[in-house]
Point group: C2
Chain length 368, copies 2
């Protein structure tokens, strides 16, 4: 009987009974097994905050377990192509994938929800729904059928809308616009006239420079600065309403997860939850610096007009209705999130928003 089976079969209950008698715990701790895992990332090392945060995460697991549970992180294509990471974890090619669930929405649109839905929750709300609401529970019931256990492990905060070669003011301006954007955001934009394009990251810059595409969405100031899009498309629109608060994940092979000693499960779970604090802090620290640099280099900041946002919001609602019609699991999880979204944005506009608004007014008045 292995350790875990022993615990399941009542070892812990028996231990608790002994503790109840007042016997002190033995002075010498039990040893935990040496375990080495491989984690494949969907994100290139050039996405420094995301990859760096994952490096720290796995390092911490090693430190907390005194070097006994070691997770090696691999960049895309070292073991597995980037968009195959979660699949490789499910199949056991690796024990774990550092990825984001909406990369796999081709399998089933339910995969999109764990990252974020267009016009979904902001970063804090996404965590509240995942950890304290039904979010993670419902999603893990779904992922279990794919042999995966999901741990949220970071959030980028609201992203930018991306780089456009010309100004867009009205919905009419979107008509025929070729934009590099995937996922549900692309499907929604298609309803308002955009022609979504799938282009590998390595080819985006040239396509934008040559005018093969008119626009591209990427992440936000810190990551966008490095790719230099501002040199070939100067209008930098916001917000990225398809990424209002996207979560990243550690997707763990379910059998491997179940075999882990509870101490290692706790270490990995806690490291991932700390990863949420860590990645947001990295972006909130780096983005202001990068934004200054981008504006200095000539980037022109532009908010999407209310007309465009409203048309996209309605197109999103229509898209969700279409998906729900044929996908009861999506419907259940979507409606659960939407019930929270309604209340969360009501509360958010009281203390948080009024504090931020006042501080932003002081910022604009040069008083900060």
């Amino acid at each position: 009987m292995d350790r875990r089976t022993f615990i399941k079969k009542g070892g812990l209950a028996a231990g608790a009974a002994v503790a109840g008698t007042g016997l002190a715990a033995p002075a010498i701790a039990q040893s935990l097994p040496k375990i080495t895992w491989r984690c494949t990332s969907s994100f290139p090392k050039s996405l420094g905050t995301i990859y760096g945060s994952a490096e720290d995460l796995v390092k911490r697991v090693g430190e907390m377990t005194d070097g006994n549970f070691t997770i090696r992180l691999f960049a895309p294509n070292e073991l597995v192509p980037p968009l195959n990471a979660a699949t490789a974890a499910a199949e056991g090619t690796v024990e774990m994938a550092h990825t984001t669930s909406y990369y796999y929405l081709g399998k089933d649109p339910v995969w999109a929800i764990g990252t974020t839905l267009p016009f979904g929750l902001n970063a804090r709300q996404q965590n509240a729904w995942l950890y304290r609401g039904n979010g993670l529970k419902l999603l893990n019931e779904f992922y279990a059928k794919q042999n995966i256990y999901c741990l949220p492990a970071g959030n980028t905060g609201a992203q930018m809308g991306g780089w456009f070669r010309r100004e867009i003011n009205t919905v009419a301006d979107l008509s025929g616009l070729k934009m590099r954007i995937g996922g549900l955001g692309g499907r929604i934009l298609e309803k308002v006239g955009v022609i979504p394009q799938q282009i590998p990251p390595t080819d985006i810059y040239t396509a934008l420079e040559k005018g093969t595409i008119d626009a591209v969405e990427w992440v936000g100031p810190y990551d966008d600065l490095k790719l230099g899009f501002y040199k070939v498309a100067k209008y930098y629109y916001y917000p990225g309403w398809w990424d209002g608060g996207p979560s990243l994940h550690m997707m763990v092979n379910l059998d491997k997860w179940n075999e882990l000693p509870p101490a290692y499960q706790a270490a990995l779970t806690t490291a991932c939850e700390a990863g949420n604090t860590d990645l947001l802090a990295r972006y909130d620290w780096e983005n202001p610096i990068a934004l200054r640099e981008l504006v200095k280099e000539g980037a022109q900041l532009r908010p999407f007009s209310q007309e465009i946002l409203s048309a996209c919001f309605d197109a999103a609602t229509e898209t969700y209705a279409e998906i729900m019609a044929g996908n009861p699991t999506f419907k259940t999880i979507y409606e659960d999130q939407m019930a929270y979204r309604r209340e969360a944005f009501l509360w958010a506009q009281i203390a948080e928003y009024s504090f931020d608004t006042f501080m932003m007014l002081q910022q604009r008045a040069g008083k900060l």
Copy 2:
């Protein structure tokens, strides 16, 4: 030579050299010592999210260390009075305190900064400055002189401005207003005419009911609902600009911290960082529910007027100038935070604020 000294003297470097030769790690892990700590909390169990989050935090440390590093959490006055928690940790009466640094600003105003400054940073920015900026480094240099090592371990998000028996619209309305509020918020409000009152939590309700005080600030909807202030003071003002994003802390006795094996230091550090995600998620989940209930019970939501906020902002700036004049450590840390505040609120109004604003407009239009 104890284990920790061995590591410091090059044990790890020697180990790394061995690893470089390709020798596999030994199959049997080293045991770590059994350690039991006591943690005294400043927060009563009735503050369910705060106390509950700390309970989970110490439970996690136990789980991650396979039950070897156990931290027992004590409510206020079980061992130590609530506002003496950090002092007790510094003196070694307990190994650790669950508290918030600004309770101790009577010792030195620098203690206020680690929690939050009035008109300071919001919750995400506070974490960014603490973890990725110079914040925690500078503060721990200061705390080290008091024999404390500080780990941020949660944030409430922006709090409410509190409960008022009558409407206040102008600065003139603040004149002579008796408000239960402490710390720097009280000192700043005094400059605009308020008479700050110190009243123990148990006596606030009666004082407010009898009109001994005119107003009280507490936390936000979830905690305020339980204390029932809405029954005796119906105007619920926002935002609590003195608590725009306050951090809670685990304050550890520095000697005890230095004696911990690195694995336990990592476990406690990671559990505290995860505690930041956890506590915010708890509040972001619970506050919307409580807000509905408060409004149903007759609470009248009122934003502080721009006139009042501006007068308080100027009074805050004046207060910081006074403190800096006689306190170079405060000046150094304050100015470091202010440099980030300026940039952070510039960036925050781009993607994050425009996303939130649009979603709030949809909320008001009944489209969520």
